[in-house]
């Protein structure tokens, strides 16, 4: 029997994606276009939030949207109907976007004319957390009906985001959602995260989200 020998590999499994993602970030830094990756479970309000954001910012910022869905174009049509450039990427069964797919979306939008591109990632709290899309900011939504235990079940997602939006706070009085327990769980996983409570339905807290977003875009544009 032939001898078995050991080869040291010492490589990051996701190195290729990390490299493409770094390229996306650099390219968009040159065109001064901030890329924001929005993630959440299905039905927690990603599209509603984007529509609210478009309504609030379309006169002050040049926006674009990259929609990702397993196999439909419903979301992109809703956004495009508001007069905003929107690209639908069909992931064809894949549960997340990676940096190569995002590159296709960016190629299809005229990004040099845009201040902010929002990616609506596939609705899923697991896989999108593992793949760097090349975004400058990662934002997630958790909606009240999903429960305050989600940071325990999907810790990675909460640990990689810059901002957590807690949506559907108009449901709080109907549920046993424990806001202080949730905040504590999230802060343990990610002490730098910003948490904003909103309701896309009533509009409560949306101003805080819009102000955060405007500040981040301004700060991004000033970066050398």
């Amino acid at each position: 029997m032939e001898d078995v020998r050991l080869i040291e590999v010492k490589e990051e499994i996701l190195a290729d994606n990390i490299k493409v993602a770094a390229g996306v970030r650099e390219r968009l830094r040159n065109t001064k276009t901030m890329l924001l990756n929005l993630m959440s479970s299905p039905g927690s309000g990603k599209t509603s939030l984007i529509l609210q954001t478009v309504a609030n910012l379309k006169d002050s910022l040049r926006l674009g949207v990259i929609e990702a869905d397993i196999d439909s174009t419903v979301d992109a049509e809703k956004v495009a109907a508001r007069g905003i450039p929107a690209i639908q990427l069909r992931t064809g069964g894949f549960c997340h976007l990676d940096a190569t797919m995002v590159t296709q979306g960016i190629d299809a939008l005229s990004v040099s004319d845009l201040d902010l591109v929002i990616i609506e990632n596939v609705g899923n709290l697991v896989c999108p957390a593992e793949f760097d899309t090349g975004a400058h900011k990662n934002v997630m939504i958790l909606s009240v009906p999903e429960g305050d235990d989600k940071p325990l079940k999907y810790p990675l997602m909460f640990s990689i985001c810059d901002l957590l939006l807690i949506n559907k706070i108009d449901y709080l009085s109907l549920s046993d959602f424990d806001m202080s327990a949730l905040r504590k769980r999230v802060m343990t996983l990610n002490p730098r995260i910003v948490i904003i409570e909103v309701s896309c339905k009533t509009g409560s807290g949306i101003e805080d989200w819009i102000n955060w977003l405007k500040r981040e875009v301004e700060y991004f544009k000033e970066l050398k």
Partner: protein, 116 residues
């Protein structure tokens, strides 16, 4: 659900190293994966068996070392290991405080491989 693209990346890296090292057969691949990742060991192996057919890595076994989740107490700076299920209720074993910061547990790494 994202085991497939991960497994494709593993195979690509393994074959690259196999070719540059004149390998005849890859026997075992040692991975280090953080406990915060949701990968299923069994599915990675199944996908690997499927994808590696007809390559130098056909039949290779994946051995996964699960890397611990480490947190650091924000009060006394003690580092300690926790399980995923306990992440919501951390208590520092040294000072009893609950305020802490995540240090590691997200690794995705190929350490080495045994070859012939």
């Amino acid at each position: 659900m994202h085991e497939l693209p991960i497994t494709e990346s593993i195979l690509k890296i393994v074959l690259k190293h196999a070719e540059t090292n004149n390998v005849r057969q890859v026997v075992t691949i040692h991975l280090q994966i953080g406990k915060l990742s949701d990968l299923e060991d069994e599915w990675i192996q199944r996908y690997f068996d499927f994808l590696s057919k007809g390559t130098l890595a056909q039949g290779a076994k994946l051995k996964i070392e699960r890397m611990p989740i480490m947190v650091q107490c924000n009060v006394c700076s003690t580092s300690y290991e926790v399980e995923v299920a306990k992440l919501g209720d951390l208590v520092c074993p040294n000072c009893g405080q609950k305020d802490s910061t995540l240090l590691s547990g997200r690794e995705y790494y190929i350490k080495d491989m045994e070859v012939q």
